[in-house]
Symmetry: C2
Subunit: 248 residues, 2 copies
Amino acid sequence: MNLDNIRIVLVNTTHPGNIGGVARAMKNMGLSRLYLVAPEKFPDEQAVWRAASAGDLLDSAVITATVEEAIGDCQFVVGTSARERRIPWPLLDPRQCAARIGALAGREQVAILFGREDRGLTNEELQLCNLHLNIPTSDAYSSLNLAMAVQIVCYELRMLLVQGDLPASEDDQWDTPFATLANLERFYLHLEQALTDIEFLDPTAPRQLMARLRRLYGRVRLDEMELNILRGILTETQKWVERGRHGS
Amino acid sequence: MNLDNIRIVLVNTTHPGNIGGVARAMKNMGLSRLYLVAPEKFPDEQAVWRAASAGDLLDSAVITATVEEAIGDCQFVVGTSARERRIPWPLLDPRQCAARIGALAGREQVAILFGREDRGLTNEELQLCNLHLNIPTSDAYSSLNLAMAVQIVCYELRMLLVQGDLPASEDDQWDTPFATLANLERFYLHLEQALTDIEFLDPTAPRQLMARLRRLYGRVRLDEMELNILRGILTETQKWVERGRHGS
């Protein structure tokens, strides 16, 4: 996938602050090509302010009079849409949509259209599209801010791009090797001895204490450094027991 | 999962507009519990303006002096964080994180902490957390707007909630049954006859024409209504050929 082949097209945006927010959202996620179809107010200092360090995207934005001009050279066009439409069109959520775009954007030009703040894209504009994208929302309040909608879609494209770069789980990125079973067993033996030494554990009536402690440390998956720290604590504790028994 | 068990905690937010943007982002995704730890300016009309129809979340926001007060009754705490930290902590992307939270938020109280606009959460605050959340960004510009970060995280929670409700693919939601193979074959026969009638197809030298047309319509997966429309066009076309041959 090549994010440079994907353009974000804003149609008749009313608030220039939203254009700035869109520019920042795009740049944060690695997209750079912004098209503005007949924006109400642009350029505008509100756009610059909200863009923060993404002013370069505003400078390079392509301004056109019509949607057709903005997408004429594209092979694949996606339109953002509310859920219900008179003529059903293929409708995907942002994740499915990113996957479709990802499969194409290596060699084709892709446009993603976002409509007016108050009423989105017209039916005519939606019929220019290969498919429609809908962002799941709460029924109680389904109207997303324009820049937020762009942020979510660009985030999904980035997630697709970094797939495989990201650790599959929190353990993949650990800086120290996790403890081996043999070392863990040595630790449990040491722990049991130390607990006996301090007379917290009565070997003649051990109850479930060691089982509970094994469950605790098993759940946390100790790394070798943590294991060394814990064994160091046990060793020091045992020294105090020794001193306490024989005087210092 | 119960979104009401998840709170969004903003720590020392500088710009009240961001608080409003967060409220709207939350309500759009079905979250309702906003905590503000020592906000610089709140209440504020900028917050109300950016919240749009989510003013109720601002009204019910809980304001505390410290992070500990805001999360004291939580069983699981997530802190948003930049990628690199001195002490590595379990670090997940928003999707993995939503999955972890989803597994807990049926019965436990979960907090997600977002730090200051300019420097995020302190190391002390991050060490209050069970795990850290990082939103993938472009190396060229990695600083997300606060409300955008909240939007992405809340979006992932909503995606988790609606999983299964959403159609698995664009075909799942089609309003008309897709054409059966038998009806498709009748259409192809009809098409071939009509193309012969208008003398576009020469049956003695058909080349690859029908194969190409089959590939075209096979790719699009016609539904029964579309098939009827196409056959209607063929029938009308054939009538004109008939009239042209025999005079009208």
